[in-house]
Amino acid sequence: MSIVIEAANLVFQPYVLLVIFGAAAFGMFVGAIPGLTATMATALLVPVTFFMDPVPAIATIVTATAMAIFAGDIPGTLLRMPGTPASAAYVQDAYAMTQQGRPEAALGASLVFSSIGGIFGTLVLITASPVLAEIALKFSSFEYFWLVVLGLSCAVFISPGSPARGLIALFIGLFAATVGLDNPAAVPRYTFGSVEMMGGVQFIPAMIGLFAVSEVIRAFIKRASDVRPPAAMSKSIFRQQATNLVTYPVQALRGSILGTAIGALPGAGADIAAWISYAVSKKFSKTPEKFGTGHVEGLVEAGASNNGAMSGAWIPALVFGIPGDSITAIVIGVLYIKGINPGPMVFITQPEMIYAVFIVFLLANLIMLPLGWIAIKGARHVLSIPQKVLMPVILMFCMVGSFAINNSVFGIGLMLIFGIIGFLMEENDIPIAPAILGLVLGPMLEQNFVTSMIKSDGSFLAFFERPIAAGLGLFSIAIWAIPLVLWLLHRRSARQNLT
């Protein structure tokens, strides 16, 4: 207990609290601009943290990233420009809610359940880090391969409309992911001799194009009427979420657990977690047909899941110094500079530091609520802007975001091409979301498959030789096989009934 008090003394200093507040505002700002990512926010903060003591330095980064991840949902909900691939999982629902005049309900759910997922993940981090990290260390390329297959399968099954159309979208994404040099054999593919093409299709410009530019094109062609300005809310943002929590307690818990567990795996992060959680939510929902039409249930579960994953990523980072994602990779560097060497020893040699980090986590997830509330209140005014003013401004932001990701005009070109592809896809009722997941997970799928095959000297059976891999593999196959078998049985019995 004395350690906790000592840790609290480190955190509850006016300077540290001020830093947390400033970092939160910074994270909110960066996250709300499409194309500027939480990773970028962290990288920009690193030089600033050089001049700070360890606790405020870590507090800066933790708070800014938690806030940036939530803030990425704001443009996603209001303008259908998801800030991260993780929020792309439920952007369809969130944007539909905005079109129905309920943007505050969508953003409120995203805010509150992000916070719940984050706090749950932190509690797991505090209580079960060493045990979970041991399990996470058992995952090699065989297990990750099946996990990616599971994630991709989810994308197909959650897409509204027929699975065939979902599959088409997925293959568009997977194809785009093959472009470039960053594949296991380091062979240039579809680069046509261009140096820029060697870098491949970066997913931020592609995502902005598919979601946002396609929307701009549609608004231009169809002369869309202005969105109804949101009606004044009958209930406050938070009271509405209390209702959601009472209605969907299982979903919130399930999302938090799954998110934290997937986040704890070094090779998988918030994006896979959000997609799998969204699919799980739809699968077990009493009203799966409402998903994608502005239904809050999937938002609750996937929103909790991706913030849970954010906290979960710290488990292997603190216990073994293994980065769970690009953000923890940066943080591990900062920890080293501050003389806190991550590893099992840090829990014994500097427990007050670790507990201070935990307290910062909880604070960051709590301060998100009031600051997020202010942001939501301010953001709704965006929708009162007439479409013909708003759309060019959106296009400008799209260009800034696409340029910023690699400081190159090539990104803007990519964005425009994917904008047209996205427009054509939606005109033909092909969902966009699976294409994004294909683009994000395609390289992981290939990497894990090829390295597994090299390790097993070309034997497919190796994918089932390790216990966890075998379990995940059989589960993946079952997901695809069972609907097929049921369909065949159904057809046979139907035929028998005819004769």
Partner: protein, 323 residues
């Protein structure tokens, strides 16, 4: 109308020439291109050096990440910029390998190497569960088993640690692919995979495995350098243990497009030297466990050229070079 235009044009010209006369380099912000992602080790080195150079030269140094294509995109962006001193970049060891692989025409000769600011030797690391206590024992086991039994990982195909491993095996009279190389996205995923039982050896720098070594999950058997490393005094060199004379190290350098004016070059090199010797840089490198190494101008270019030749030889023998 014509008159006004002429006045404006003459005025503009005069302003430009007088600016060129009155002000010397640098008079506007400098762009520093980092060919690797935000948050990585190279990015951190670039950002810190940039901040120090900024103090020294008195103009902003903007660090810009140009990633992708295993470094080809960013290195091309540096080499293709105007050699006026307003675009510099962090050039990494990949420049000595990617042209051998046939990925680009670009070589170190397209750059003016200003300075080498860091270097980390390769190592031999195994999982603690594997039960090897010396690199001799490991080598004996590798030799006694058929080719392909042992697997190693820690970088992409044809990446520095792949070349490092092949060079070591060649120096021990083994085929360069006697140990199968499994490409990975870097040392961290390679180490994770090794602890999970996926591969047997990670030949990356010991600094990259430090946290896992401290956690007693990974054992460092040797360093591929001429002398032991300060941070790992108990880890022997290859020469001490197996007698191999093979050494390999990654380095990071500051470079500019070839053809820099001499005065600009000197000014930049001096600014980088001051930045390198700054307390902030020295402490940062020590705390991160990165190796400090300094070489300037022609000395640095000579190191880059020597490595280029050595890697070309190993890569050709290992079948990693394009035909």
């Amino acid at each position: 109308m014509h008159f006004i235009k002429t006045i404006a044009a003459v005025g503009g010209l005069m302003a430009m020439t007088s600016a060129a006369w009155a002000q010397e380099y640098p008079e506007r912000p400098i762009q520093m291109i980092v060919p690797w992602g935000a948050g990585g080790g190279t990015d951190a080195v670039g950002r810190l050096l940039g901040a120090e150079i900024q103090k020294e030269l008195g103009v902003p140094v903007n660090v810009v990440n140009r990633t992708g294509g295993s470094g080809v995109v960013g290195h091309s962006a540096i080499a293709n910029a105007d050699p006026d001193g307003y675009t510099i970049g962090i050039m990494t060891i990949e420049i000595d390998m990617m042209h051998w692989q046939g990925l680009t025409e670009l070589t170190y000769e397209d750059f003016d190497v200003l300075a080498i600011v860091n270097s980390d030797p390769g190592g031999v690391m195994v999982s603690a569960d594997a039960g090897f206590d010396s690199v001799e024992a490991l080598l004996e086991k590798i030799k006694s088993e058929p080719a392909g039994t042992f697997k190693a990982s820690g970088t992409g195909q044809g990446g520095i640690w792949h070349v490092g491993l092949a060079g070591w095996l060649l120096s021990e009279d083994l085929a360069p692919d006697h140990v199968t190389f499994v490409p990975s996205q870097g040392a961290a995923p390679g180490l994770t995979d090794m602890v999970a039982g996926g591969v047997d050896i990670v030949p990356s720098s010991l600094a990259e495995g430090r946290s896992m070594i401290d956690a007693k999950r990974v054992v460092a058997l040797a360093t591929m350098s001429a002398d032991r490393q300060d941070a790992f005094p108990d880890v022997p060199t290859l020469a001490e243990s197996t007698g191999s004379d093979w050494t390999v190290a990654v380095w990071r350098s500051v470079a500019a497009p070839a053809g820099l004016p001499e005065d600009v070059k000197v000014k930049l090199m001096n600014a980088i030297e001051t930045a390198y010797n700054s307390e902030a840089y020295q402490e940062f490198m020590k705390d991160r466990g990165f190796g400090l190494r300094w070489a300037k101008g022609d000395d640095a270019a000579a190191i880059v050229a020597t490595d280029d030749a050595a890697f070309g030889e190993v890569m050709t023998k290992a079948g990693l070079a394009a035909q």
